[in-house]
């Protein structure tokens, strides 16, 4: 059988679906709240969900520490506020990348190339920002507590021995930051690898498949 004959079969035998949607059906379909099932739509939904969850959890915490305890713990609300702002910046950047990811009216090959490029950028940002979040939040906490609650860093006068020891061997100004740095370095490295594993689990197969498709289109 020639391919030309198949063209004939293709055109002549194509049976339309039992129910061909008419104009009304199509309008109803467009009017309903449609949840896309494609990966980009899913990623966008997850991102929005995460953003809402963050708002729901952070807002009461910020308000609580700001208004309760006679404002004595307002430093914590500052900390949460800054973290929330950082998260918003992070989500906004990811959302922009997701918007750029697809161009359905472009040529199939250029759309695939765009998806691979943007997805790689998305993953890199996700990995770096996700890893940096912990040391940044620790540093912020340290800076805010030092600024708003300096008493935490002054040592009590009793017991006498303790005070005398500190008097004789005072902790230099860089002692605390270095201590935190030593503590955070392995933690950050661990988080980096955990994040990389998680991201690969989430998007690894998808990006590999896109690259395969692109390679197939490019090679002769």
């Amino acid at each position: 059988m020639e391919l030309e004959s198949l063209k004939y079969i293709w055109r002549s035998l194509e049976t339309p679906p039992a129910q061909t949607p008419d104009r009304q059906d199509l309008l109803a379909l467009l009017a309903q709240r449609y949840r896309g099932r494609g990966p980009v739509a899913r990623m966008r939904r997850n991102l929005i969900g995460e953003g809402i969850l963050m708002c729901v959890t952070y807002t009461p915490a910020i308000l609580c520490y700001l208004l309760a305890f006679d404002g004595r713990l307002s430093a914590i609300s500052w900390l949460f506020g800054l973290l929330a702002a950082a998260f918003f910046g992070y989500y906004y950047r990811l959302y922009r990348l997701l918007k750029e990811m697809q161009c359905v009216t472009c040529q199939v090959k250029s759309n695939l190339a765009r998806q691979v490029k943007t997805l790689k950028k998305y993953i890199r940002f996700y990995l770096l920002a996700g890893t940096a979040m912990i040391p940044v939040s620790f540093s912020l906490s340290y800076a805010i507590i030092r600024w708003k609650m300096p008493s935490v860093f002054t040592y009590p006068s009793s017991p006498a021995g303790h005070s005398l020891y500190l008097h004789l061997h005072p902790i230099p100004w860089w002692g605390n930051p270095v201590f935190w740095l030593i503590l955070m370095a392995p933690l950050t490295i661990g988080i980096y690898y955990a994040n990389a594993w998680y991201i690969n689990r989430l998007y690894g197969r998808h990006i590999k498949k896109l690259q395969e498709l692109l390679r197939e289109m490019e090679t002769e």
Binding site: M1, E2, L3, S5, L6, K7, I9, W10, R11, S12, L13, E14, T15, P16, P17, L26, L29, L30, Y34, G36, R37, G38, P39, Q102, C103, V104, T105, C106, Q107, V108, K109, S110, N111, L112, Q115, H206, K209, L210, L213, E216, M217, E220
Partner: protein, 154 residues
């Protein structure tokens, strides 16, 4: 045309309906930006194929993949049979074994699109398209195992 794309890229009726719905939504969203720089059919194919190919949907397989030997080996025998619908099903079964890109190419070929339009839709050069098309014909011929009357014989 949209149904053909859905039929080629999805195995179950539910997936086909989902894909159809998604393509219609994408068409609806993209329509205001349509500048008539490209032919309407080119624009339509781009949206349908981009949605189907790059969507990489999680497929629900109705049946387990069939052994190639059990696929359309008897295409040449049944072509004389009355049931043409069955021929089409066999054709689909053969196309199901192609990759996403090959499916797109085969569909455009069967739709009688010129190589120039295929290039505009897919972004693959015409020379490359011809090479690929020949390879697909060989592949289909191999799949159908109809050496003398194979699909890909040209």
């Amino acid at each position: 045309m949209l149904y053909k794309v859905c039929r080629l890229y999805c195995f179950t009726e539910a997936d086909r309906q989902d894909l159809f719905q998604e393509i219609v939504i994408q068409l609806w969203r993209s329509w205001p930006a349509f500048r008539r720089e490209a032919k309407f059919s080119t624009w339509l194919y781009r949206i349908a194929l981009n949605t189907a190919i790059s969507g990489l949907r999680r497929q629900r397989r109705l049946i387990a993949p069939t052994d190639p030997d059990q696929l359309p080996t008897e295409l040449q025998d049944i072509q004389y049979a009355a049931d043409k619908e069955e021929q089409l099903q066999l054709l689909y079964a053969a196309i199901d074994r192609l990759t996403e890109v090959e499916k797109a190419l085969t569909m455009l070929y069967l739709e009688d699109r010129s190589y120039q339009e295929m290039e505009e839709i897919l972004g693959i050069s015409q020379n490359n398209l011809r090479v690929k098309m020949n390879r697909i014909k060989d592949k289909l011929r191999k799949i159908t195992k109809a050496v003398t009357h194979g699909i890909g014989k040209s």
